[in-house]
């Protein structure tokens, strides 16, 4: 089993790869974590991870700049139904469109736009930086046994935009930051988190382990 972490110049690549390696090591059936910018390796992988930090348009350009990557990714996830994990902007790219500064097309796997968060409480700062608990919206294997809810563990967010999903069924969990913030999405064999599991200590590693065990 191989897990391909797509290298398209994203800033959190190293941390993401290390977190997946750590989670994979503690499993009974270790999976090989491979950082790659080779579309063919992505196409053949058993699982795919798309990290991402920075601006939506810049990340989209980064994916497009690797010849054949988008095609390989789409084919692997949408046709071959390989499990996919998008992190932060890697998750946002699953949306129809991003509206950060300019309008940019997403992959359109999950209907909805990526829009600026606007906390109702004006004392709340944007970017939203810090730790939040998560509220489950829909049960999903990647959420299994995770301590969710207001008394649960926290996940680490660093963002100003979030995926405003058109279909409630695509949202697995939300955070509250002066209003609802989409925290985890899931549709078919793809899941994604707005927060950074690779920076969310034990909680993040537990989520990654769940993804590595998930057999959709």
């Amino acid at each position: 089993m191989t897990v391909a972490i797509i290298d398209y110049g994203s800033g959190n690549l190293h941390s993401a790869a290390k977190a997946f390696e750590r989670a994979a090591r503690s499993m009974e059936d270790p999976q090989a974590i491979k950082v790659t910018r080779d579309p063919d390796a992505v196409y053949r992988a058993d699982r795919i991870v798309l990290p991402g930090v920075g601006a939506f348009a810049d990340c989209r350009r980064g994916v497009d700049a690797v010849d054949g990557m988008l095609e390989a990714l789409t084919e692997a996830v949408r046709v071959k139904a390989r499990p996919f994990f998008g992190i932060c902007v890697g998750m946002q790219l699953m949306a129809t469109r991003g509206k950060e500064h300019v309008i940019t097309e997403g992959f359109n796997w999950i209907g909805g736009d990526v829009v600026k968060i606007e906390p109702r409480d004006e004392s709340l700062k944007v970017p939203h930086m810090g730790w939040n608990t998560l509220d489950m919206v829909r049960e999903h294997p990647v959420l299994e046994r995770l301590p969710l809810g207001p008394k649960g563990r926290h996940a680490y967010f660093v963002h100003s935009y979030h995926l405003n999903a058109a279909n409630e069924a695509d949202v697995l969990a939300r955070a509250d930051y002066g209003g609802p913030v989409t925290a985890i999405v899931g549709k078919d064999t793809a899941v994604g988190t707005q927060f950074h599991p690779e920076k969310s200590q034990r909680f993040g590693l537990a989520l990654i382990s769940n993804f590595l065990k998930w057999k959709p």
């Binding site: 941390s15 930090v53 700062k125 810090g130 680490y156 920076k199």
Partner: protein
């Protein structure tokens, strides 16, 4: 719900923690990676490394520290010190830093903040502001920006500067009072509040923490989103958990994950 962040800061020179860290049994009290692991286990919300390496040749050592920290700690890491080019940022982020803090390079060339934010996103660009109260003849006091550890005056108004760097794309302000740094008298609360109330992004208060009430004051009176401290944690005076428990008792929302 919003949670206040408690952020220990480690000064690192040539790959070693300046003055060491002695709050837990470490094999090597000067190894920043060991200190990072200990703070990760202690429940710190973020960690900041400030690279005070003087020579360009030894900069590479810091990258190795960042890389090894990211391999061992799955927590947010900000790195500052000597960040002057977009390439400096790129290599730090790729080594495992989540945020990069820019100080004097932003003072000398504001456009650098914009270039950095456009390339890597506002959320990972921290502008570190070192401010000092300045008496003005015939006028009211104000805070001005100082560089080089408080030695060089710039004459720039700190509030105006904070607003300017945020408009250029700074996603967070790390605010240090040069009057209070090292004094253990607490944050400069009027300064912290003046800056925090004038920008929409998070402001981290720094400089002067001597007890746990100071941390509470930084948030309550200073309106800071997070609080940064060094010596009260490094030498075992207080644990991160004691700090957080104290802040909870004062009514602040904290993350207390085990």
């Amino acid at each position: 719900m919003f949670k206040v962040r408690v952020i220990p800061c480690l000064d690192v020179k040539d790959g070693r923690v300046v003055k060491g860290v002695n709050f837990v049994d470490l094999r090597d009290a000067g190894d920043p990676v060991e200190a990072a692991i200990a703070y990760d286990a202690a429940g710190a919300d973020e960690l900041t490394f400030l690279d005070i390496t003087a020579t360009h040749e030894n900069r590479g050592i810091m990258l190795d520290v960042v890389r090894r920290t990211a391999e061992a700690c799955f927590m947010p890491l900000t790195v500052g010190g000597g960040v002057r080019t977009v390439d400096d940022i790129k290599i730090l982020l790729r080594s495992g830093a989540d945020k990069v803090s820019i100080n004097s390079a932003a003072v000398s060339r504001r456009e650098f903040v914009k270039e950095a934010a456009e390339k890597y996103g506002e959320q990972c660009i921290v502008v570190a502001i070192d401010a000092k109260r300045v008496k003005r003849a015939g006028g009211s006091d104000r805070w001005e920006i100082f560089t080089h550890g408080g030695r060089n005056a710039t004459g720039i108004d700190a509030i105006e500067y904070a607003q300017e760097v945020v408009s250029l794309g700074a996603g967070e302000i790390l605010l240090t009072s040069m009057d209070r740094d090292g004094t253990r008298q607490g944050f400069d609360l009027p300064l912290t509040r003046a800056i925090a109330d004038s920008v929409p992004v998070p402001v981290i208060a720094s400089g002067g923490v001597g007890n746990l009430d100071h941390l509470v004051d930084g948030v309550r009176e200073g309106h800071a989103t997070g609080v940064l401290a060094a010596s009260i944690f490094h030498f075992g005076e207080f644990t991160i958990r004691q700090a957080k428990d104290h802040m909870v008792r004062a009514g602040l929302p904290m993350r207390l994950d085990p």
